[in-house]
Amino acid sequence: MTAYFQAYGALAGLLALAVLFVTVAFGANRILRPNRPDAGKLTTYESGVDPIGTAWSQTQIRYYVFAFLFVIFDVESVFLFPWAVVFANLGVAAFWEMVVFIGVLAVGLLYAYRKGVLRWV
């Protein structure tokens, strides 16, 4: 039982160390750095002139498509990793099931390719 908890003890120690590190770094910085607040320091930066327009900008739609495809194939690889570890012991059926799974996703990839979203430009 103690061996079981020992692993978690190490994890808890690491967590505590991480929190301590961040606290000390930011805290020391906060205490030590010069603090001379000024209204001028809070002005919006636009090369020294008055800012025009809003700070919102529109991102290209292609970034959304690439992120979307990434998520799908990332989840697919999450399924592939544990399968890859154990499939040698599972027999041939396991192999063909995974082929079917990858095949279904490959059809999706083919659709994306034909739709032209895989071209960057």
């Binding site: 030590l32 010069p34 001379r36 001028g40 002005t43 090369s47 020294g48």
Partner: protein
């Protein structure tokens, strides 16, 4: 609650902090005219100032601690310099590079030139020349680094007025 500018830190800590600050100056280069070309030449291969720890082309005033004003300052540009200087976080240093930013330079009698950027912002180092050689800028940076190495930020802010270094004087 900054301690560095309110309390005189013990010498070892001050030494370490000053050492860190003087060898990692990030420059917000304010290139206005021909002196900007000399500044760029100083950052390039032959007279490298990056080897002194000075990194050019900060992304904005908020990521910089050194402002190098190189070139003629006109009346139309003056409010922009003031605002950008204000946007820099402490501790900040200013080098006035070239004759035009020191005192108006060869255009001192023009209707549109501000006679020296020190009319707008406080200057730490004056580098005279038209344009100054890159070695002069390196000299100015080294002198500034020597001063940063031995300075106490509390005294700097308490004193108010800066005592500028003039290169070559």
């Amino acid at each position: 609650m900054g301690l560095v500018d309110k309390v005189e830190l013990p010498q070892p800590i001050k030494f370490v902090f000053n050492w860190g600050r003087k060898y990692s100056l990030w420059v917000f280069n304010f290139g206005l005219a021909c002196c900007a070309i000399e500044f760029i030449a100083t950052s390039m291969a032959r007279h490298d100032f990056i080897r002194l720890g000075v990194i050019p082309f900060a992304h904005g005033p908020r990521q910089a601690d050194l402002l190098v004003v190189s070139g003629t300052l006109t009346d139309k540009m003056a409010p922009a310099v003031k605002r950008l200087y204000d946007e820099m976080p402490e501790p900040k240093y200013v080098i006035s590079f070239g004759s035009c930013s020191n005192c108006g330079g060869p255009y001192w009698d023009s209707y549109s030139v501000t006679k020296g950027v020190d009319q707008i912002i406080p200057i730490d180092v004056y580098v005279p020349g038209c344009p100054p050689r890159p070695e002069a800028l390196l000299h100015g940076i080294i002198k500034l680094q020597e001063r940063i190495g031995t300075e106490s930020l509390k005294e700097r802010y308490a004193r108010g007025e800066l005592e500028p270094i003039v290169v070559g004087a």
